[in-house]
């Protein structure tokens, strides 16, 4: 990796220049190669996907996806509706297993371990690779119970009658965690005085942020977000974007978005999927947006084709 592009957003013009040169040479070398050059970055990939194919019954939803996602960064997935972004995201924590007709082939490695191995521990995997769904799906429980749900069930928070009788009730720890997660998800101000109310009484955007808080409470290593800001107003969106950027200092974030500006603003690298389930371009966000390799991607980004 001699001429690798740095993952920092303030990458110098020089390094960009080198990649452009190399790209043209690579293209002339072999016509059958993908339209985009293999993207490489400094540091270890957290998730590396190779030759991933997904079928829903006979419907080939993802085709030969190979991609490496670096740690402590934000990776944006963009592409037209129905191109397989959510499908790809679900492959990363094996949520596709829960869809009966879905069939997945290929390898996905998380920290060097194949998560599609027979011996993979799904519960543990999903603890470490958290997910925020496209549609908000809070439990029909109180706001507090929603946030504390994961830690309680993992035994990290000891609550309930037995704990109270044994004098081991960890209410304070829970209060702290709930407040912290709700603050991170930019929801605390709105719900601090009604934590015991049912979460189904929140607005759609509030539910979305509650789901983010619920995911944060489990403290995963990777957070997969499927359009987390689709139901939010500009202010809450800005807060969530700030949150995502600060999360990237510690966590790895993979986010699906339909909002190009958002992807350009917050992500370090961007992957563009196009209709048919192909990964057409993957690279440094600035490059993908300013100087896309493929004509189709350029058309998509500039809005000529959706």
């Amino acid at each position: 990796m001699t001429e690798s592009v740095t993952t920092t957003t303030d990458g110098s013009i020089e390094s960009e220049q080198t990649t452009v040169d190399e790209r043209t040479s690579a293209e002339s070398e072999e016509q059958t190669k993908p339209e985009w050059r293999e993207y490489s970055f400094a540091g270890e990939p957290v998730l590396s996907v190779e030759d991933l194919n997904v079928w829903y019954g006979d419907d080939h939803a993802l085709k030969d996806i190979s991609i490496e996602i670096p740690e402590q960064s934000v990776t944006a997935l963009i592409g037209p509706s129905g191109c397989g972004k959510s499908t790809f995201l679900r492959c990363l924590n094996r949520m596709n297993d829960r869809i009966k007709e879905a069939r997945v082939e290929g390898t996905v490695e998380f920290n060097g371990q194949d998560i599609y191995a027979d011996a993979a521990n799904l519960v543990e995997l999903r603890k470490r690779v958290g997910m925020v769904f496209q549609h908000p799906n809070p439990f029909p429980k109180s706001i507090r119970e929603n946030v504390a749900y994961g830690p309680r069930k993992h035994g990290d928070l000891n609550r309930g009658l037995v704990a109270r009788l044994l004098g081991q009730d960890e209410k304070e720890a829970e209060d702290e965690l709930v407040e912290q997660c709700l603050r991170d998800a930019a929801l605390w101000e709105e719900v601090s005085d009604r934590l015991e109310d049912n979460a189904l009484g929140l607005s759609g955007g509030q539910q979305q942020r509650l789901c983010i808080a619920r995911c944060l409470a489990v403290d995963p290593e990777v957070i997969l977000m499927d359009e987390p800001a689709s139901a939010l107003d500009p202010i809450a969106t800005a807060k969530i974007e700030d949150l995502i950027e600060s999360l990237a200092e510690e966590y790895t974030v993979v986010i699906v978005t339909h909002n190009m500006q958002q992807a350009a603003r917050i992500s370090d690298q961007t992957a563009v999927f196009l209709t048919g389930g192909e990964l057409v371009e993957y690279g440094d966000t600035d490059q993908v947006f300013e100087n896309p390799q493929s004509q189709r991607v350029e058309d998509y980004i500039t809005g000529k084709f959706g």
Binding site: R98, F133, F139, K153, N198, V218
Partner: protein
């Protein structure tokens, strides 16, 4: 003209046509209620009212409604009324009219005129003609004219006496007799259903809105009929059973006052009693609540008066003694209800140090009182005098101190006085807690609190022989206590046996088993089991369960058999409830790294609890009244002289061999009686004087089922609230 009306979005004032139409609807409604009342025997039809036969009133009314309905149609078509009828009344209306006319004309020709089998041919011709008429004419005529003619014709039949109360119809080939007293109200109800529907449709000017309104009135009337059947059934049993049930009831006015006041308090706390602030059906409910609350308040005052004037009242063998003595158990119930209802409003969180110490002192006083009670229970001695002294000195001291503090403080701190003097709601709650503690003490130790004339005693404030005694033989005081407890224990056993099994199977079938031939087979089998006749379950119990449990019919065998009967219904409803839990919840939980079993336990099962309880509600109603299987597997004496002592005969023995703790309960292994079983015995005994005993037993059975019903509904409400609030 109708076009200009069509463009009008908001009706500003009711036209006289609309007023006429709504008048017809209301009159139809009234006629329907009166006819239903006749059916139930509340309105006389056979007799005469000021010299005119009751049936004639019906005839005139029905005739009038028919003519009025015809007028509605005619005004709409040829008059000034602004209506928007469709081009046709529609196929359904046509078919319904055709069938009604065919049957009516056929019966009339065949039986009233008597022209043999040709009559049916003619009838079909007339029916088809009317149906065509309804279809082909514009809606305002098609919907009203056939109705009007038919209903007016009915009215004429009644007025002319062609169908009179003494008239009877004996269909050929059967020996059934359908008397006029039945035919008149039934035909009236059918007829006014039609006029109600047609006039409601006319009120909205026919068309789409008219049909909607017509359908609404039709459905309301049918709902009314269903409700009145239910009320009639309950009232019927109540009327016949209540005097037996209440025979020789003796109450202390103190207990009654406390219970009534609690009911009043609960009503005021939980329901709205101000009709002016509610609307729609809420307003009706508020009116009912207000009436009930006023009656409760009056009754409470009345009993306070009874205590004050020291006059005992007795009516029809019910006696109220003018003592202010309260029983411990009613006291516990009343106190518990008030305590639960004031849980939120009765809080007091003083911010000043003094306020907090006052609160602490009150708590300490209550604790001391409780401690004395525990001491008494352990020692078996009565320390109450000393205890009450200590508690009153403490409480009094605290109050005096609080007042002193409030008085002594400089004026500029007075604004904080609410921090030191407790709010009334909180003091009330302290009082209720003290009352509860006192009741608990009396209940546990048996020593009374207070004076002979006013205080809390362990028992004797309610003497209700029918409920608390066994039957003492024919002609003496009847009683249902053993049978009532038999039924209660059987239902409790069946529910505790069936519900966990059913929920467990539902979890397995819904969450673990793949949809396959196997699960479908189980579903079919479950449905089949639920429709299996109960006597088959009884036979199964007799042949399979009884030999395995002591070879004698027993409460346990009855619990198991009825549990088996309950199982399929609870399984079906639990499974449906679990299927309807959205997959999103399961996905959300899985994505948080929560295992499947944890997800089921903390998301799926709580979300399906309301469904499970619905199954229990429906099932308990059925099994509590089951008689046939009990004849086989319970089969005790119908009138035992003691109830099953289930609670007191649990034996727990710790032994050396596994499972080390042996629990047994001989009372469960004995034959017993149950309410439906006893009812059957009373009926088959066939002694005239015992008939009222039977009604009383039936009333108690209804009461027990209703009790379980209310309990389950409260539980279901609790779970629903947790899910949706």
């Amino acid at each position: 003209m109708s076009d200009s009306y069509r463009t009008q979005l908001v009706d500003t004032k009711g036209t006289s046509y609309e007023q006429f139409a709504i008048g017809v609807t209301v009159a139809s409604f009234v006629a329907f209620v009166l006819a239903a009342g006749t059916l139930f025997g509340w309105v006389p039809v056979a007799g005469e009212i000021s010299g005119v036969p009751g049936a004639t009133y019906f005839g005139v009314g029905v005739l009038g409604l028919g003519v009025a309905t015809g007028a509605l149609g005619a005004f709409s078509r040829w008059g000034e009324a602004q209506t928007t009828p469709s081009r046709s009344a529609g196929l359904v209306v046509g078919v319904v009219h055709a069938s009604i006319w065919t049957v009516a004309v056929g019966l009339f020709l065949r039986y009233t005129i008597g022209i043999g089998s040709v009559s049916w041919l003619l009838a079909v011709a007339v029916g088809v003609g009317v149906g065509y008429f309804a279809l082909a004419l514009p809606e305002d005529l098609g919907a009203t004219a056939p109705t009007a003619v038919f209903v007016a014709f009915l009215g004429l039949l009644f007025v002319t006496g062609l169908i009179s109360p003494s008239w009877a119809w004996q269909p050929n080939g059967t020996n059934a007799t359908i008397p006029g007293t039945l035919v008149i109200p039934l035909l009236t109800m059918g007829g006014v259903l039609m006029t109600g529907w047609a006039s409601a449709s006319a009120y909205e000017g026919f068309g789409t809105r008219g049909r909607q309104n017509g359908a609404f009135v039709l459905i309301s009337l049918v709902v009314l009929l269903t409700l009145s059947v239910l009320v009639f059934l309950l009232a019927f049993v109540f009327e016949r059973g209540i005097m037996v049930v209440l025979e020789n009831l003796t109450l202390s006015a103190g207990t009654v006052t406390v219970l009534l006041a609690t009911a009043l308090f609960a009503l005021l706390r939980t329901a709205t009693v101000r009709p002016t602030v509610a609307n729609g059906t809420d307003r009706v409910a508020a009116f009912v609540n207000l009436t009930v609350a006023s009656l409760l308040a009056l009754a409470t005052l009345g009993f306070v008066l009874v205590i004050g004037t020291n006059l005992s009242i007795s009516a029809a063998s019910i006696t109220v003694e003018p003592t202010a003595v309260v029983g411990a158990v009613p006291g516990l119930i009343a106190g518990g209800v008030v305590f639960g209802l004031t849980r939120e409003s009765g809080e007091w969180r003083p911010e000043s140090g003094r306020g907090r110490s006052i609160r602490r002192a009150f708590r300490a006083a209550l604790l001391v009182a409780g401690g004395i009670g525990v001491l008494e229970l352990v020692a078996g001695l009565e320390l109450a005098v000393a205890g009450i002294g200590a508690v009153s000195v403490l409480l009094g001291g605290v109050v005096v101190a609080a007042l002193l503090v409030a008085a002594v403080r400089p004026t500029d701190e007075r604004t904080e006085s609410d921090q030191v003097i407790p709010p009334v709601s909180w003091l009330g709650r302290v009082a209720v807690t003290a009352f509860l503690l006192a009741c608990l003490r009396v209940f546990a130790t048996g020593f009374p609190v207070g004076l002979d004339q006013a205080g809390i005693v362990a028992s004797g404030t309610i003497d209700w022989p029918f409920i608390t005694n066994p039957s003492q033989g024919l002609g003496i005081q009847p009683g249902v206590m053993p049978a009532m407890f038999g039924t209660i224990w059987i239902v409790i056993g069946a529910v505790t046996f069936a519900v966990p099994l059913a929920v467990g199977s539902a979890v397995f079938l819904t969450e673990y088993a793949e949809d396959s031939i196997f699960t479908r087979a189980v579903d079919i089998a479950t449905n089949g089991l639920w429709s299996t006749p109960s006597i088959v379950f009884g036979l199964f119990g007799l042949a399979f369960i009884v030999p395995r449990f002591g070879n004698t019919p027993s409460i346990l065998a009855a619990q198991l058999v009825l549990g088996f009967m309950l199982l399929p219904l609870v399984l079906i409803t639990s499974r449906e409830a679990m299927k309807s839990v959205p997959d999103e919840y399961r996905d959300a939980s899985a994505a948080l790294g929560v295992s499947k079993w944890q997800t089921i336990r903390s998301v799926v099962v709580p979300a399906s609890m309301p469904g499970v309880i619905t199954g229990v509600i429906l099932g308990v109603g059925r099994i509590a009244g089951e008689t046939a299987p009990l004849l086989l597997v319970l089969n005790g004496p119908a009138f035992p002289n003691s109830g099953p002592k289930v609670l007191s005969s649990f034996l727990v023995r710790i032994g050396a061999d596994p499972p080390f703790i042996h629990v047994s309960n001989p009372a469960l292994m004995e034959r017993a009686s149950a309410l439906p079983y006893q009812l059957y015995a009373v009926i088959t005994a066939g002694v005239g004087a015992e008939q009222s005993f039977g009604w009383g037993t039936a009333l108690v059975l209804l009461g027990v089922v209703l009790g379980f019903f209310l309990l389950s509904i409260a539980t279901r409400r609790y779970f629903r609230r947790k899910l949706h609030q």
